[in-house]
């Protein structure tokens, strides 16, 4: 493989891993916000337990979101220096994201974790709202940068560099505003189906937390039929713009339009292949679409079953519970397929119609260096992802009786914390 392919593969691997955490972070934080708001207003102890249980899964998941994001940020400089030095405007969105949104999100999250029992209830509630708001703000600014790559706008070329010319055009990019709702609803779908799947697992296995997980499944059952069809709708809503602006992305379904665009590129930039490979694009697009349809149907069936109370009361729909558990990986596959479709369909351009991928790679980086970082980051992030998911599964299966967030050491309220304490005491000998 030449350096360009290695750099692309590395980006694909690391960003897929990164995004699987991002989608769950955005989805789960929204659900934690709902539960904590409910708890703060009604003071129901059940809602406190909801907040802690789902909040704990959220925090575990957030950790890897950070470290994989760090790898992504450095990777731009490591492997894609051609992109950042040519398209200076590209860095603006990312700079604003890291400086405002990401920084604040991490600080507010720290305050939220350590603020249990130390801050007033309403202040603590405000913090999780701020964590969620800054998380979405992060997503917004990253999408500003990404949408610039799909459809550059608001720039001027001066001395061979793409400089910022009009910030309102950069932020008003129609590609951004059609993508943002899709990304947000897809993340919500991910969070909702994880909540539904974990709840279904406990109800299916008949663990002693029936009331707890009936409540969380009910919330997921109400949200899913709203957010999942919306995800599909917002996804389809992007196609008119893609047809108009990026017809080569639709080479699998609209070959004539793609060929016309290829012709225009040849006239403008000289001979070359300006079409992305068909098969991976078609696979990714179909995978995303059909998973969306399956999840949409599953959402409706679940909602109907919940309305009739069949799912949890009469237990005649046990197969549905099993299906909900089995469906947990589906939104992740769909999310990653969506990004493969979006970014693969941009090929061979790094910035559509302006900068080719081979020009975006860092000049002169050797294949050896790229192999090293590819293997290193892939092994490292894959290992951490497996560990993290094993922990998420473990904590999800344990149910709402073993948390650490905000729990005093003597476990008031009958919820014993982890048996780590016993370990710590014996470890002193």
């Amino acid at each position: 493989m030449d350096p360009q392919d290695l750099a692309r593969l590395q980006f694909a691997v690391t960003s897929s891993i990164h995004y699987s955490f991002v989608a769950l972070t955005l989805g789960l934080v929204t659900i934690v916000v709902l539960f904590q708001t409910w708890w703060t207003i009604t003071r129901q102890p059940l809602m406190e337990r909801m907040t802690k249980f789902w909040g704990q899964l959220y925090v575990i998941n957030y950790a890897l979101g950070i470290v994989t994001g760090l790898v992504m940020e450095f990777q731009l400089g490591l492997n894609w220096a051609g992109l950042t030095s040519f398209a200076e405007v590209f860095g603006v969105g990312l700079a604003v994201e890291t400086l405002s949104a990401f920084f604040l999100e991490s600080v507010f999250l720290g305050l939220w974790i350590f603020g249990w029992g130390r801050l007033r209830r309403w202040v603590h509630l405000a913090l999780i709202w701020l964590v969620a708001a800054t998380a979405y703000l992060s997503a917004f600014w990253v999408l500003v940068a990404n949408s610039f790559m799909q459809r550059p706008d608001g720039y001027a070329i001066v001395d061979g560099r793409m400089l910022l010319d009009d910030v309102t055009a950069l932020v008003g990019n129609p590609t951004l505003w059609t993508t943002l709702p899709h990304v947000v609803t897809a993340s919500l779908t991910t969070g909702v189906f994880v909540v539904a799947g974990v709840s279904a697992y406990h109800l299916w296995r008949g663990t002693p937390h029936t009331e707890f997980f009936t409540r969380s499944l009910r919330l997921a059952g109400w949200l899913a039929p709203v957010v999942t069809p919306l995800t599909l709708l917002f996804g389809l809503n992007q196609f008119p713009l893609i047809l108009e602006e990026q017809p080569t992305k639709l080479v699998a379904t609209q070959p004539e339009l793609a060929a016309e665009q290829q012709q225009r590129f040849v006239e403008q930039f000289g001979p070359g292949d300006y079409l992305p490979p068909v098969t991976p694009l078609a696979v990714a697009e179909n995978l995303m679409f059909y998973i969306g349809v399956v999840l949409g149907l599953l959402a409706i069936v679940t909602a109907v079953a919940l309305i009739r109370r069949a799912l949890v009361r009469r237990r005649i729909l046990r197969p549905l519970l099993v299906v909900l558990v089995a469906a947990i990986p589906l939104p992740f596959v769909a999310n990653i397929s969506g990004w493969v479709f979006r970014e693969y369909g941009r090929q061979p351009w790094a910035i559509y119609g302006a900068l080719r991928v081979d020009e975006a790679v860092s000049p002169g980086v050797s294949a050896g260096a790229l192999w090293t970082s590819l293997v290193l980051f892939t092994v490292l992030l894959t290992t951490l992802t497996v560990i993290n998911w094993a922990l998420l599964v473990r904590y999800a299966r344990r149910g709402p009786d073993g948390w650490l967030i905000g729990d005093p050491v003597d476990g008031h309220g009958g919820h014993r914390p982890l048996p780590e304490r016993a370990f710590a005491l014996s470890g002193r000998e």
């Binding site: 051609g82 990312l94 700079a95 400086l99 604040l104 000049p363 980086v365 922990l391 005093p408 914390p417």
Partner: protein, 338 residues
């Protein structure tokens, strides 16, 4: 307004803040084997790390963010130029973060021990890597025909690089031990105080060794455009280390911590000021280096960034101070998440 200077100052502030805040987190982790006797000690030290690191490590992301937005050509040059050290740094930071986040998630002894070892080792690598990166950015580097910085084995294993890497590890560990001595109590704090005293006395030697290696290294001499500033900077660092030792001898831990912080900040100022007007110096190439004008993004981008971020900056500082206030006094008897 002179936006490049404004943004360079912001970058400088972010680097100094990172060194001071993340510096003590990294240093405390490196000092664990020296100041902890049992798992209870380690729990106490790592809980103190956990209270700070979420708000401190983001400064690294902020530094790269400022480089991406305000100094895109410099960012690409440094990060892709120092490729091997950067992947080492990123790997170590990832392992460090993972060990902090994962250690307490399972109640198994071997699991926790494993992550503690990973935490200490990765923190040491982070400190070494920063020392190496600092020295590589400082010295004059050869450039390829594509105007890319060429960092090969001879640059990576140059005496100056190695000396700076070790000095950084020493400095950060001393800084972290001082913080541990102040933030913790009991025998751990006492051991941390003793370690920091011992490290501080090495500090004077380290400054002298760095200076001696710099003088005999041609790329470092070439890079030093302002020798007077460089000598003044080194003298200031040496004097601050001396003052630190004096404060420690008098038992003034807080003042000693201020000295170690000031010494670390002085290194950053030295790094920037001794090579003015260049931010990067090339070895035997024309032009001789990259000036601020060449490194910074255009006027319009910088102005836009400033307008977008000006209202956020006070919020960032206030939020971080609030976090420090809330997390500072650990609630007795509460299990730490970290």
């Amino acid at each position: 307004m002179n936006w490049p200077v404004v943004w360079l100052s912001l970058l400088g502030c972010a680097v100094v803040a990172y060194l001071l805040l993340e510096g003590y987190v990294i240093g405390m982790a490196v000092a664990i084997p020296a100041i902890c006797r049992d798992s209870r000690d380690r729990d106490a030290v790592i809980a103190a790390i956990g209270r700070s690191f979420l708000g401190n490590e983001v400064l690294l992301v902020v530094i790269v963010g400022i480089l991406l937005g305000a100094f895109p050509s410099l960012e690409g040059k440094i990060i892709s130029g120092c490729y091997p050290v950067i992947i080492l740094l990123v790997t170590a930071v990832v392992v460090r973060d993972a060990s902090l986040h994962l250690r307490r998630r399972l109640p198994r002894r071997r699991w926790q021990r494993g992550w503690e070892v990973a935490l200490v080792a990765s923190s040491a690598v982070v400190a070494l890597a920063w020392g190496a990166i600092g020295s590589l950015i400082y010295r004059a580097l050869p450039v390829t025909s594509e105007a890319r910085l060429a960092v090969g084995a001879s640059e990576l294993f140059a005496p100056f690089t190695i000396v700076c890497a070790v000095a950084a590890l020493l400095a950060v560990t001393a800084h972290g031990s001082l913080y541990a001595a102040r933030a913790l109590s009991g025998p751990v704090a006492e051991r941390a105080r003793r370690i920091s005293r011992r490290l501080a006395s090495f500090g004077v030697v380290a400054v002298a060794v760095v200076a001696a290696t710099a003088v005999v290294s041609r790329p470092v001499r070439v890079a030093t455009q302002q020798p007077a500033v460089a000598w003044a900077g080194l003298a200031a660092v040496g004097a601050l280390v001396g003052l630190l030792i004096w404060c420690l001898a008098r038992g003034a831990l807080g003042a000693a911590l201020v000295c170690s912080g000031a010494a670390l900040s002085a290194v950053v100022v030295l790094l920037a000021a001794a090579r003015a007007p260049y931010l990067l110096v090339y070895l035997d190439a024309a032009p001789a280096g990259m000036t601020l004008a060449h490194a910074s993004a255009d006027e319009q981008s910088l102005r836009t960034l400033s307008v977008l971020l000006a209202p956020v900056l006070p919020v960032m500082v206030a939020a971080r101070l609030w976090q420090a206030r809330v997390t500072r006094p650990p609630v007795p008897g509460r299990i730490s998440w970290f």
